[in-house]
């Protein structure tokens, strides 16, 4: 198939043929893939599609194949966070989002590659090897949900789920020229999402277009009593699919166009903002003075939480286990052999930041900065409807270019992490190319105001053709 098809197109195909045929054609495409986006293709996918065929295609996603990031628990289907330490771990339960997708008739196609434990911006730290960007096989797809973005861009799945702790949906969406949303914290249940930094992350869908994002959101968002941070709030995201931004006020935070920004990226984003003006919106520059501290705050909080979240991987109950004469030796060796270098770095830094004597200086300080960053958003969004900025300061970099320089990798997250610190929603949509590589426009909204950013993104899509550009091989 290797073509971009949206959900309504897929449903038409299913009506014309069958869910089984559609799923089979995707599996065939994946079989020929060169991008290493999938880690596992589900043995059950065909059966699930067949069952949907026999049940008369009920549900809003009946027969629609979907790819799932390696860190979202799928019953009976390997879920490893792309880490050796979870080798062989098959969850005995489905994440909340998987239950919802299955109930809506979606077919779980398989699991997608990611940076080990979602710690990265390039999907190079995976135990399964890197995923390649379909636009340029020498470049990274972004991360950490690199597999989820790349398989959608390559036409290997129409939609996918990723997770976004500090930009992990939006970054690969931008790098691979697809749409990805990081919903408001609390919007989608995290039950079954293997935690990296629980106070920051949300599951988010990726798709080739905004309408499909809204369709998936309608299925997976909503209250779940098993996640205490989940919010009980009804919303229909597809109601926001209107081509109308007249009178919309856009804020453009100047701090998001800082040092090191790629010229073409800057131009593409400003061209987009002009387009919004043409469509009837207005913009003003806003200042978010604490942006420069966000990165440090983000990494300290994320690493601190990670150091605790990842403690359970000790070889006792599941996953990889090394040999040892006693439990402590076994657990230590398991962790030494099972985690990759970036994961170890973050666990160590997080452990350090929480240690007696440093806790106040680092962790507590980072929480205080987080409050200031949040206040920046509250202030800026008090006067405008949405904020717009480049998702990533530059397009996808070359594989191997930054992997030995963690700091430069961390710096790439400068425009995405403040959003997670604040917990607000943000969507990344394609808005142009820079030297042939996609550029993402980030549209940020108020807490639980996904519908406004979806409306803005949808309107933009209706009035531009960026989203119709395909990677060379898929076109």
């Amino acid at each position: 198939m290797a073509a971009w098809t949206d959900i309504s197109g897929i449903r038409q195909k299913i009506a014309d043929s069958s869910a089984e045929e559609v799923t089979a054609s995707y599996i065939e495409t994946i079989g020929k893939s060169k991008i290493n986006g999938f880690t596992t293709v589900s043995d059950e996918a065909i059966n699930a599609a067949r069952e949907i065929d026999s049940n008369g295609h009920e549900g809003p996603l009946a027969g629609v194949p979907i790819a799932i990031k390696e860190n979202i628990s799928t019953k009976g289907l390997s879920t490893t966070c792309s880490s050796k330490i979870l080798q062989g771990y098959v969850p005995p339960y489905d994440a909340h989002v998987i239950e919802k997708l299955k109930a809506a008739g979606a077919v779980i196609l398989g699991k997608t590659n990611m940076d080990e434990f979602a710690m990265g911006t390039s999907t190079e730290s995976s135990y399964y090897g890197p995923t390649f960007n379909p636009w340029d096989m020498d470049r990274v797809p972004g991360g950490s949900s690199g597999g989820s973005a790349a398989v959608v861009a390559a036409g290997e799945a129409p939609v996918s789920l990723g997770s976004d702790t500090g930009g992990s949906v939006r970054c690969p969406a931008a790098y691979c020229g697809v749409v990805g949303i990081k919903p408001t914290y609390g919007c989608i249940s995290r039950y079954g999402l293997i935690s990296y930094a629980n106070s920051l992350e949300q599951i988010g869908p990726l798709a080739t277009n905004v309408a499909d994002i809204a369709t998936i959101m309608d299925v997976v968002a909503g209250y779940d009593s098993r996640d205490s941070t989940s919010i009980n709030r009804e919303n229909t995201y597809s109601d926001a699919l209107k081509d109308d931004v007249k009178g919309m006020k856009i804020g453009v935070p100047e701090e998001y166009f800082g040092e090191g920004i790629d010229e073409n990226v800057e131009k593409a984003v400003w061209d987009s903002i002009s387009k919004f003006e043409d469509m009837g919106a207005t913009y003003e520059k806003v200042s978010m003075p604490h942006t420069k501290y966000a990165l440090a705050s983000y990494y300290i909080i994320a690493m601190s939480e990670a150091s605790s979240n990842l403690a359970r991987f000790d070889g006792t109950r599941y996953g990889y286990r090394a040999d040892g004469d006693n439990w402590h030796v076994m657990a230590s060796k398991t962790r030494a052999e099972g985690f990759g270098p970036e994961v170890k770095r973050r666990i160590l830094l997080g452990t350090y930041a929480l240690s007696a004597g440093y806790h106040d200086k680092y962790y507590l300080k980072a929480l205080q900065v987080r409050t200031l960053v949040k206040q920046d958003f509250d202030r800026a969004l008090a006067n405008v409807d949405v904020l717009m900025a480049p998702t990533m300061p530059a397009p996808a970099f070359k594989i191997g270019e930054k992997i030995d320089d963690p700091l430069s990798l961390y710096l790439a997250d400068v425009n995405t992490v403040p959003i997670n610190l604040a917990g607000v929603p943000s969507i990344s949509v394609p808005c142009g190319l820079s030297d042939g590589m996609p550029v993402g426009l980030q549209i940020i909204g108020k807490h639980f105001d996904e519908n406004t950013i979806i409306r803005a993104a949808y309107s933009f899509e209706q009035n531009t053709d960026h989203h119709t550009r395909r990677p060379p091989e898929v076109a």
């Binding site: 860190n71 979202i72 628990s73 879920t79 966070c81 979870l86 771990y89 969850p91 005995p92 339960y93 994440a95 995290r190 039950y191 079954g192 999402l193 293997i194 935690s195 930094a197 629980n198 106070s199 009593s225 098993r226 996640d227 205490s228 941070t229 601190s304 939480e305 150091s307 605790s308 403690a311 359970r312 991987f313 000790d314 006792t316 109950r317 599941y318 439990w327 402590h328 657990a331 452990t351 929480l354 240690s355 007696a356 806790h359 962790y363």
Partner: protein
């Protein structure tokens, strides 16, 4: 009399109480009734700490904890906050324990115990909620084990850790404190102290007002007293030999009755506490007045009332109010018979027989003890027969009345014989005179009359002895 505390002993206790009367675990819906179940049958992704699982706070557990806090005269926190205590141990499925840190559910309380010199106040520093780890079963001893089995049934059970001030001055006071605590918890109906793992204590002990040593792994009242006696002796001997007490953690080896050094202060864990991001604060300030209203009459108040209302002495009142079930049992009995008799029979006799058999008050009915007391006070049986009835009910079953009959315990039989003897003597003055005059055979005549009067129910030999006794008066 004021207790001088000559050795400068200070003991503080950290008591872990499993709130096993809750229906479900602290952060998941798993049933708490695992005590008679196969290992690892009361588990789910949450209490197994599976990747991606999230905790959801059991509100009933918070309610129970507030109840405990109020009963210990504590102030209650405005809203709950949970922290992660990070350390690696095979009984922890997540390698951190979700617990409370700087905002415990309850703090600044006190309880009153019977101290070395009368009533003694022990301060309660704090009480906090935390999750119980899994149960490790070492194949062999803890230091030499071939392997360890893990049973996660207990994992995620609600614990409340109650930390006292170092206000106890002797092992006896420590034991009294623990007993009082158990009594209060028993009244609240939040835990069943008879279940395995229901109550565990760590003790902080110092002598001569010096540095403290923590003794872990104490699981019984008896164990507590033994551990403390040993530890105090060890510290005193060590100082006498010129040694110095260093802050350390020691393990109580119950089998050998000794404490063994585990680690010194320098080796203490850095638990890297931080707020649990997966739980949101729960505002409970508004719950407190309502929960306070549900608090039952507690042991101290009940003891006072028993003394006043039933005219009991302090010893009886104390013994009858330690366990709520016993107190309620007593009150039912006291409603039917003289309360003082009820106190004697329930507290002195019945409880003694129950303790001897390691039975609880549930093994006896109010109806049966009332029957026994009425038989005794009605002068129908002797006290000794009353005790025998209680023993028989406990050992062989049956109802008191049936036992009286079966065993012929009725004093009434004696009365009939005695009356017949008196009548026979009074009605036959000639025979009496003959006997007193030396005619032995006249005795047989009188006994025969007694047998006639009792229609043969009296034992002939017994009748003869009674007649003899009467004639020789």
């Amino acid at each position: 009399m004021v207790y001088e505390n000559p050795d400068g002993i200070r003991i503080g206790l950290e008591v872990h109480v499993q709130l096993n009367k809750l229906k479900t675990k602290l952060f998941c819906g798993c049933s708490t009734e695992y005590h008679d179940s196969e290992p690892n049958t009361h588990v789910c992704p949450v209490c197994l700490g599976l990747p991606g699982s999230l905790p959801v706070l059991n509100e009933k557990a918070v309610e129970f904890a507030i109840k405990v806090g109020l009963a210990l005269n504590c102030s209650i926190v405005e809203q709950t906050q949970f922290h992660r205590k990070n350390y690696y141990y095979p009984d922890l499925p997540k390698n951190f324990q979700t617990t409370q840190y700087d905002f415990p559910i309850a703090a600044n309380g006190k309880i009153i115990i019977e101290g070395e010199d009368g009533e003694h106040v022990v301060g309660i520093t704090r009480a906090h909620i935390e999750e119980d780890p899994a149960r490790l079963q070492h194949m062999g001893t803890i230091d030499r084990s071939k392997g360890t089995l893990i049973n996660y049934n207990r994992s995620g059970m609600t614990l409340i850790e109650i930390v006292s001030e170092p206000d106890m001055r002797s092992p006896k006071e420590a034991r009294r404190y623990l007993e009082k605590l158990k009594s209060i918890l028993d009244y609240l109906g939040v835990f069943d102290g008879d279940l395995e793992g229901a109550m565990k204590a760590d003790a902080n002990v110092s002598v001569f007002w010096g540095d403290r040593v923590e003794v872990k792994n104490i699981s019984s009242f008896k164990g507590l007293e033994r551990a403390l006696v040993y530890e105090i002796m060890r510290q005193k001997n060590h100082i006498r030999r010129g040694g110095e007490i260093v802050m350390e953690t020691r393990h109580f080896d119950e089998a050998r009755g000794v404490t063994i050094s585990m680690r010194t202060k320098e080796e203490e864990h850095d638990y890297r506490y931080f707020p649990e991001p997966d739980l949101v604060p729960l505002r409970v300030a508004d719950w407190v007045p309502g929960i306070r209203e549900t608090l039952p009459e507690l042991p101290d108040a009940k003891r006072e009332r028993f003394m006043e209302q039933y005219g009991l002495g302090e010893t009886h009142a104390r013994a009858l109010t330690t366990e709520i079930k016993v107190a309620n049992f007593f009150e039912e009995v006291a409603a039917k018979v003289d309360p003082k008799d009820a106190a004697v029979w329930v507290s002195d006799i019945l409880k003694g027989e129950l303790n001897y058999r390691e039975l609880s008050i549930d093994a006896f009915t109010v109806e049966d003890i009332v029957a026994v007391v009425e038989l005794v006070t009605g002068n129908k049986i002797t006290e000794q027969s009353g005790v025998e009835i209680i023993r028989t009910v406990l050992d062989d079953g049956g109802k008191p009345q049936d036992i009286v009959e079966k065993k012929g315990l009725l004093k009434v039989e004696d009365d009939i014989v005695a009356t017949a003897v008196e009548e026979a003597i009074a009605e036959n003055p000639d025979a009496v005179a003959d006997y007193l005059g030396g005619k032995e055979k006249s005795l047989n005549f009188i006994v025969g009359k007694v047998m006639q009067k009792t229609k043969g129910r009296a034992d002939a030999r017994e009748a003869r002895e009674k007649v003899l006794a009467k004639l020789n008066e």
